[in-house]
Subunit: 201 residues, 4 copies
DNA sequence: GATGAATGAGTGTTCATTCAT
DNA sequence: GATGAATGAACACTCATTCAT
């Protein structure tokens, strides 16, 4: 907990200081929320628990986020942005197509391993029709983007029916991630990665 | 209410008559609940909605099921039993291994197409840590069974590392089903099935 | 459970037979209800439990009693009538006053020992303002009667302030019964009886 | 709402201010609940009635008490603590035994008169097997304590069978209080007190 | 007389959200 | 910016009572 109070005699905080404080608070809220959403599910996670875990008061949460759902949206957005980095870098890099797919797969598996919480949450949301709906716009945009990039890639790789391959490729990856989410360390993630890569070598 | 036997004595219903009534009520409750759980999610589906959809009173639901969660359990159990039929018939049938896997895959895809609600629900539950926990026992038992049957099958088919193949096979199937659940009729389910079967021919 | 059904071919029951059946049912209902009211409290005893314990259906109970509260009234009435017997016999018997009080005390203690359920119930009701109100008329009538009989008795026994003595006497008895209700067999009931009698010898 | 310190900073309430608010709320809830439990009975008193009477919302009650039963426990505990004061002071005071019993009796009768609600509630609970059970631990502890103190006292006073006397003494007191609870102002409480004291002088 | 499926008003409890400070 | 007391709509569940058979 950063030293925030007990500055009765101090001069008022500057704009910058305030911004820093805001960012810190928002981050710790989002971190706490992400962990708990992933661990206990969206509906079962209570605002008060998040606030407690984040070390702030219930009310403050509403200074930064419009409500529970908006908080979720912010997290989902973060998750997606974070995922983009490696993925896009791979797909848009300047190497031969076969390299690209390898890079992309490697990046994704790495990402998954180091951000289990994000992925758990995203997977879960994919199946919660109620919550899902309010995230649909976010997800759809990304989905479009990725699918198009992949189609292009498989075309370059010489697939006659690139769309078909995209569907299949996507299914394998999501299936693997799904199982990994459920079994965690008991899952042979690297072995699966190799099997995936084998198909494209 | 097709026929009301009008007996002067007004004797109470027979045990059999009551059993029929009970089964009808339970079925309509489970059907309504399944549909709404799948469509709106477990937490967002309210008991009163289910009762309304089933055409009964709130209270009656509690004559047949101990509560919301027990109702869910009953549905999940039904879903699993229903799935078993085709799957086990294929795996335990008396045909060459390669035929078996084909039969099993065909059966599963058929099952999925005709029971989207069940599968949507099961998929969703797989990602809801809170609800999931209370279903764990039900799921685990099945999982064990299927995995063992599959390992055996892949062994017969000559795979050097049958377990690895089971994981991979399972991931593909689950990935496909996952996407199908989300996209429904827009998903090229049959095409994906062919791609799966190709691998084992 | 008396053989009640399976008489398809039998001639209709006579008025008398019906009356017997009615009495049996009412008695078994009241017995079951008394026991459970005493054991678990009025509010915590459910109609369905009573019906089960009495070996009848929920609905039948309403053929005999207007509802839960009316059932309670019927039981309370029984309890009072039963208590009257020994008590009145003693007070109205043709023996010297000092004998009378002894007889009455003896009778009451006997009664208590053999009808713990009745007394537990009555005691409890005395303190449940909600339930109590609907029984008030029943209780008041008896109370009046007993108090008057006792005043008369203590007068005969030569007490200068018979009313005062009635209050005191009543308090002792009720206090003892109260403790007995709570401690049951662990309570030195006979010893207490002797202490009471001592005062009036 | 006597005074609202209007500080520009709108800083949150201090720990102490909050504590005061909390105590006030808890007290008004307990007071309302005590009155209504005593007047209408535990089961017949609804949470919403208590909240209304206390001038708060339903929900707030749950900020302070885990539920209806815990609220009852808190009240019972208060009642007992309050009762202890005079009673223990008398029994543990440094006067001759005969004085002690007089002091204790006086204290108890005073206490009863000024805390009718508490006593009504406690008496009622003594007869409600369902509610009683959850309070048993609270009651038992006190009971032990008092009985032992009394036994000691009667021993000092020279009674050959002090335990017997404790039972009798307790029965008389409880019987009197019981009647007082029921008849309230119509009961000759002081007269009864004198009769009790007479026995020990 | 007897049954038990069905009802639905009523209740305790939860929790996202607000707002005075 | 920060707090946490307070709100109240919403919900799961209970159970006395009804009524078709």
């Amino acid at each position: 907990m950063i030293e925030r109070s007990f500055n009765k005699k101090m001069s008022p905080r500057s704009k910058e200081q305030n911004e820093v404080i805001r960012q810190q608070s928002m981050t710790s809220i989002k971190e706490a929320a992400l962990e708990m959403f992933a661990k206990y599910g969206y509906h079962s996670t209570k605002i008060s628990q998040i606030a407690k875990e984040a070390g702030i008061s219930n009310g403050l949460l509403y200074n930064y986020f419009g409500g529970k759902e908006e908080l979720l949206r912010a997290i989902v957005k973060d998750a997606m942005d974070q995922n983009d980095a490696g993925w896009l870098m791979a797909l848009q890099s300047d190497v031969p197509p076969k390299e690209k797919i390898t890079l992309a797969v490697e990046a994704t598996f790495e990402n998954i391993k180091s951000n289990v919480h994000y992925w758990k949450l995203l997977s879960a949301l994919a199946f919660q029709p109620d919550v899902q709906k309010s995230m649909e716009d976010l997800v759809m945009a990304k989905k479009e983007l990725y699918i198009n990039l992949l189609i292009e890639l498989f075309q370059e790789m010489g697939y006659a029916e690139p769309e078909r391959e995209v569907f299949y490729f996507g299914a394998i990856l999501d299936g693997i991630f799904l199982h990994y989410m459920n079994m965690q360390d008991a899952y042979p993630l690297d072995m699966m990665k190799d099997m995936v890569l084998q198909r494209y070598r």
